[in-house]
Amino acid sequence: MIEVKDLTKRYGSKTAVDHLTFEVHPGRVTGFLGPNGAGKSTTMRVILGLDAPTGGGTTIKGRPYATLRKPLRQVGSLLDAKGTHGGRSAYNHLLWMSQSNGIARSRVDEVLEMVGLAEVASRRTRGFSLGMGQRLGIASALLGDPEVLLLDEPVNGLDTEGIRWIRDLMKRLAKEGRTVLLSSHLMGEMELTADHLVVIGQGRLIADTSMRTFIEKNSQATTVVRSPEIDKLGAALERAGGQIRRDARGSWEVTGPSAATIGDVATAQGVALHELTPRLSSLEDVYTQMTKSSVEYRGATGANGSSASTENGA
């Protein structure tokens, strides 16, 4: 069990985490969701004792991480950065880690086998692909057979097969009664893996709920529409009960009527459609909707990085 209590972390004048409180329970995969810069990695670094909190605190099984003895046997972690030295082989990386926590050397071969890196174990990690690096990170996390796992963006850089492997692994570990906290900014992936969700934006808690409840409460059917005569179409759609919102790319998101209805309305009005795309990933929409409320976040979610400055300049 991981506890985050009233956690605040400031770097200079920038507040990365703002009075955040949540708990992560064993036996299920908890997804830690938030856009880039929301404070997920910061929270995880504080939980692992790497960064000191400005206020509040975090515990694992009731104790601050720094007071754990042989922590790798209790908590496995994977952070966003690589965490290896490029000149050292995968085997030797895991070897020193096992030695530091009194873990049997045979376990190094076991985890290398488990993540599929046994063949390249003696190769220096500098030449590893992003996916291989992630697998090595997973191997380090599993090294001490820990009861608690914290993984920051573990599917980053993995191919489809790798993503499925992580998903199954996380579910299995949770089923074994372990506590699994998994961060991601990818909604679609989370929808398939997590049982419970902790959503943050700008360092603040937005939601702490089961995945099922989250989807049921927040699902909305939306359709992306592009048309040269959007004003004419828009008026007709609003009469049909649709809510219309312009998105950052200049197309329109219509909530309410189905794609078929929108197409019929367009035909009836004699308006050409350039795009008519039903949005299937409801979680993603909800998430965008939820996190949109923060000005800073909206800047960061524009079509590209420059939209933030454009907005500021306008």
């Binding site: 046997r73 000149g87 873990i103």
Partner: protein
């Protein structure tokens, strides 16, 4: 909790604590040794520090490029000052190499006690450097005595200077480690530590009355005094004797290490 996923000959009970603090420190020390020996650049740097002394001893011996008032020991250890700088650079790298790929995160999640990590690194690097300096300056002196005539030059006192020379290298490594901990960046920390080693002996007189405490406390000055080279003039190495100079330097380096430990604990990793 089921053990389906992991079959270990020796099951690890959760939260199990075995052994004393000493045993845990030994584990950290072994882990640090593994880290050290499994990166080639560390080994090459150590080799460079080692062989510089015999190589320059042979060079000096063959060319006979000694001052008339020089000793064979001093001439044989012409390379010692440069080797010492390499030793300091090695001390830097032992810490800064952890910051490249954020390996320090892995280190501190495996070993949350940062003081313990720094202490293990300090013990490891100082031990390695002491042994290396001891063995290879002895070898350099051996080569020097073969190549240089004891009729032309005084031999110089090998004992107990050799122990002091070993300590000089250890202390330089620890100074490098401390600077590396402060700056966390290889290039910057190597530059800084070389500056600390060189500048006081170059600009000693500028310090006025403080010179004996500044210049006399630098690792280079202590080393030059111990090697009994004719270069060790008071203007360059200060006016306090070889051994007081050595102890002063050791105190400075340990002081730097303590400050580094405080900094390491206070700062976010």
């Amino acid at each position: 909790m089921s053990k389906v996923l992991i079959r270990d000959e020796r099951p690890l009970a959760m939260g199990q604590v075995d052994g004393s603090r000493r045993r845990e420190f030994t584990e950290v020390l072994i882990a640090e040794w593994t880290k050290f020996r499994t990166v080639r650049s560390n080994l090459w740097t150590l080799v460079a520090a080692a062989v510089l002394m015999p190589i320059l001893s042979v060079f000096v011996g063959l060319t006979g490029s000694l001052q008339p008032d020089d000793t064979i020991l001093g001439g044989s250890l012409t390379g010692a000052t440069v080797a010492q700088m390499v030793a300091a650079a090695l001390g830097v790298l032992v810490m800064t190499s952890e910051y490249g790929g954020k390996m320090i995160h892995t280190t501190f999640t495996a070993i949350p006690s940062r003081g313990r990590v720094l202490a293990a690194k300090a013990l490891l690097i100082s031990g390695l450097l002491f042994v290396t300096a001891f063995v290879f300056s002895l070898a350099a002196f051996g080569l020097g005595t073969v190549l240089l005539s004891s009729e032309d030059y005084a031999t110089g006192e090998l004992w107990p200077a050799l122990f002091g020379i070993g300590l000089c290298f250890s202390a330089s490594g620890i100074l490098g480690l401390a600077i590396g901990t402060f700056l966390r960046n290889s290039a910057g920390a190597v530059t800084a530590v070389l500056g600390l080693l060189l500048l006081p002996t170059l600009f000693g007189p500028l310090f006025g009355d403080l010179q004996r405490w500044v210049t006399g406390g630098t690792p280079t000055a202590a080393l030059e005094r111990l090697t009994q080279t004719s270069d060790a003039t008071p203007e360059v190495v200060g006016t306090i004797g070889a051994w007081p100079s050595l102890w002063l330097m050791c105190a400075y380096c340990l002081g730097a290490l303590l400050l580094a430990a405080v900094q390491l604990k206070r700062r976010d990793a």
